[in-house]
Amino acid sequence: MSEDIKLSPSIATHEYQAVIVGAGGAGLWAALELARSGVKAAVLTKLYPTRSHTGAAQGGICAALGNLEEDHWEWHMFDTVKGGDYLVDQDAAEILAREAIDTVVELEHMGLPFNRTADGRIDQRRFGGHTRNFGEGPVRRSCFAADRTGHMILQTLYQQCIKHGVRFFDEYHVVDVLIEGGQTRGVVAYRIADGELHVFRSSAVMFATGGFGRMFRTTSNAHSLTGDGVALAYRRGVPIQDMEFFQFHPTGIPGLGILLSEAARGEGGYLRNDSGERFMERYAPKLMELAPRDMVSRAIAMEIRAGRGIKGKDYVHLDLTHLGKAVIDAKLPDITEFSRVYQGVEPITQPVPTTPTAHYAMGGIPTNTDSRVVIDERGTVLPGLYAAGECACVSVHGANRLGTNSLIDILVFGRRAGRSMAHDVAGVQLPEMARDAADQVREEIETLRTRTRGENPASIRSALADTMMDGVGVYRTGDSVKESVVRVRELQARYQNVRVQDKGTVFNTDLLETRELGYLLDCAEAVAVSALARTESRGAHAREDFPDRNDEEWLKHTLAFKTDAGPELRYKPVTITTFQPKPRVY
C-alpha cells in the first residue's frame, strides 16, 4: 500500500481527510456527503455495513409530509419537545422537524421503497406521541416500508455509497481515538482478520457507533451495541451527556428482548392485561396505546406489579387479532414472523406476550446542531471530532425519544456531520501524529490477550446486565441506583483481572467481546452515577423516591466527566426557544 508509513514498531498507517467510525444510517449518510464533496474519506466498521443495527429499525421515519392528513413541522417539533419531557434542546428539535421533510424526500429519490398511498405518494401511519395541532390526537406522520423501514434505509444508503465509491474498511474494530493538544488526530483500529493495529491519521473523526443497550439483561439491542464510541471519547476526556435517560420500549418479546414495533399499535393494536382490559385508558386516556414509550412502559410495569400481568406473570398482551390478516401481512410481516419464530404465537388469531425491553440511549457524546462534539457546559467545540446518531446527544430526544425519531435523527444529523466535516477539512493539512500514538492501546490489548490467569468475562457481563436491569430499569429508587453504582464499581475492579481464553490473532472475538465489556462498564457507571444524582422523575428517568418532575432544580442536562475517582457531574442549561415546559399529559 502506497499510503503506508511506518510507526514504531511497524504499524500500518492510513491517511484520510475524514474518518467515520460506524456504518449505520448516520455514518453512511455522512460518508455520502463527503463523497459528493470530493473529500477523501474512509468508513470503518467492526461489522459489514449491512449488519449495522439501523437495519433492525422497524416501524417508520417521521416527517410532516401531510400526505394523508394535515400536518406541519411545527407540530412534529412540539411533539418531540413534549415527548422528551422538555429536556430537548429546541433549536435541535426545530432542525430535526424541518429537515425531516427533505430528508425523507431525498431517501425516496435515492430509491427507498416506501409503501405507497392509493395515489402513489409515500404512505404514512400513526406512531406514539405524534399528534396533530399540538396534542389534539394522533396524526399519520410515520413514513414506512412495511415493518423493515430501517433495513431499507440501511440498504439504500449502502447502495448509494457503493455508487459514489465510498472507501470501506469492513471488520476494522476502532479501539482508540487520538486526541492530542486539544485536536483530534485520528483513530487506531484493530483489524479483526489478523489482529493487526492500523492507525488512521485524519483531522476529522466522526463517531457513529450506536448505543449501549447490551448493559441490560433484556434488550432489543444487537450484541455489537456496546458503547464503543461513547466510551472511547469519554476515556479521552470528552464528557458524556444525559446518560441517566435510557428508554425501555414497551413491547419486547419476554426473555429475548426482541422488539415488536410500535407500528403494531400505530396500525391499531391494543394492550391488554390479564382481565382483557385495555389498561392504557387509565394512564393516557387521549392517546391510549399511542402514548410515548416511557409512559406505556411504566404502565405495563405497574400492571405487572399489581398482579395484572397475564396469569400474574411479568408480561401483558399485545392484541392484533382485530386487525385482520390483510393488514398484518401487508404492514407488519416481519414482527408477526418474530412472534411465530420466537414465541410460537400466531398474531392473526392469538394475543402476543410482550414486556418492556431496554431499547435506546437518549444520552451520549454531546454535540452542537452541526454535529460537532462539544466538551463543556459552554458549548466549546473539540476540533476534529464529530458524532451523530444514538452515540451522540444533540439533544433532540431529551428525556425520552419518540418512536421514529431515531431514524430521522441519524439521517438529519449524520448529513450535518458530513457537511461539517467537508467544510472543516477543506484545505487543511493532516495533523501531526506522535510516533507512539498507538502504543497505549497496543499495550492494553496485548495485556488483555496474554493474561493467563483471571476471571471469565462472561460472569462479569451477566452480573452487569442483572445489575443495570434490576437497579436502573424502568423504575429506579435512590437505594436501587446506589447499590448499582457500588456493584458496577466492583465489576470494574474484577474486570482488571479478566482473562480471555483465545490467545490467537486471527478473528479473536473472545478478545474483542472482552474489550467491549470494558466499554459497557464505563458507560454503565456513568448511567448509574448520573441517575443517582438526578432527584426527580423526567421522561425515561423514573425515580420512585422523587416521582415528580422538578423544573426548578433539574431542567438541565447532565455532563459526566471521567476522573480517577469516577464520573464528575456538571450541568448545562436546556435550550428553550418556543415551548415553555408544561405538565406532560396525554
Binding site: H53, L65, V104, R116, D119, V341, V506, F507
Partner: protein, 232 residues
C-alpha cells in the same frame, strides 16, 4: 433439555485441517441456536468463533450450515433441530476460522451488478409517485439481508465459483423491476454473461435456504426472461 452439539472447528494458527468437536449443552428447548453457541463460547471454550450481531434474523451475520442446511443461527430454535445438532461454516466459501467464512468475494459480486438506483433525471421537489402495484412488483427482493445462505447453498456456485450467485441476482432484480430505475439494460447485460443467470439450474436450494422467505428461483427466472425479452 440436553443437546449434543457438534461443531466443525478450524483455527489456522493451530490446526492443519478442520475437525469436529462435541459439546454437551443444557438448554431451554425454545432457545435459538445462537444462544447455544454463546453458551459454549462463554462457558466452555472462549475460542469458538462465529459472527453475530442483531440476534433476530435481520442483520445477516450468522448464516451457517445447521444440520445440513444453511440457516441463521439466531432464527432457528433448538426444538426445531433436535437433541443432536451439527454446525459447520457455510459451504463453498473459504473458512477464516471456525464458523467464520471469507465474505469479500460475496460482497464483490453483489457490487458487480450495480445494486443501486440509476436515475440521472432532475428530481422533483417532492417524492416521485409510484403505484402500489408497481411497488409490489419488486417487494420480495427488497427483503434480502445479504447473509449468503442462498449463494453458498447453490450447486452451480460450488461447481463454478465465478458464478455471480443468487444473492447478487436478487439484488439486481430489486432494481430491474423498480419503475423508478433507469439502469436495467446495463444490469441485464452484466447478468447475461457466462457467469450470470444462465448458470442457474433451477435447483431451488437458494429458495429453501433463504431465511427471509424470498422466492429466489422465481426472481432469477424473471431476470432471465427479461434478458430474453429485451434481446440482450
Amino acid at each position: 433439555m440436553q443437546v449434543q452439539l457438534r461443531i466443525l472447528r478450524y483455527d489456522p494458527e493451530r490446526d492443519q485441517k478442520p475437525h469436529w468437536e462435541q459439546y454437551t449443552v443444557e438448554t431451554d428447548p425454545t432457545a435459538p441456536l445462537l444462544d447455544l453457541l454463546h453458551t459454549v463460547k462463554w462457558h466452555q471454550d472462549g475460542s469458538l468463533t462465529f459472527r453475530r450481531s442483531c440476534a433476530h434474523g435481520v442483520c445477516g451475520s450468522d448464516a451457517m450450515l445447521i444440520n445440513g442446511r444453511n440457516r441463521l443461527a439466531c432464527k432457528i430454535r433448538v426444538d426445531q433441530l433436535g437433541k443432536k445438532i451439527s454446525v459447520a461454516p457455510l459451504p463453498g466459501l473459504k473458512v477464516i476460522k471456525d464458523l467464520v467464512v471469507d465474505m469479500d468475494e460475496f460482497f464483490a459480486k453483489y457490487r458487480s451488478v450495480m445494486p443501486f438506483q440509476v436515475d440521472d433525471d432532475v428530481m422533483p421537489a417532492r417524492e416521485r409517485r409510484q403505484s402500489q402495484a408497481d411497488r409490489e412488483r419488486y417487494d420480495d427482493t427488497t427483503k434480502c439481508i445479504l447473509c449468503a445462505a442462498c449463494t453458498s447453498s447453490c450447486p452451480s456456485f460450488w461447481a463454478q465459483d465465478t458464478y455471480v450467485g443468487p444473492a447478487a441476482i436478487v439484488n439486481a432484480h430489486r432494481f430491474i423491476f423498480d419503475t423508478r430505475d433507469a439502469g436495467s439494460d446495463d444490469r441485464l447485460e452484466i447478468l447475461s454473461d457466462a457467469d450470470g443467470v444462465w448458470r442457474c439450474r433451477t435447483i431451488f436450494n437458494c429458495t429453501d435456504a433463504c431465511p427471509r422467505g424470498i422466492n429466489i428461483t422465481r426472481a432469477i427466472l424473471e431476470v432471465s426472461q427479461a434478458i430474453t425479452a429485451r434481446g440482450i
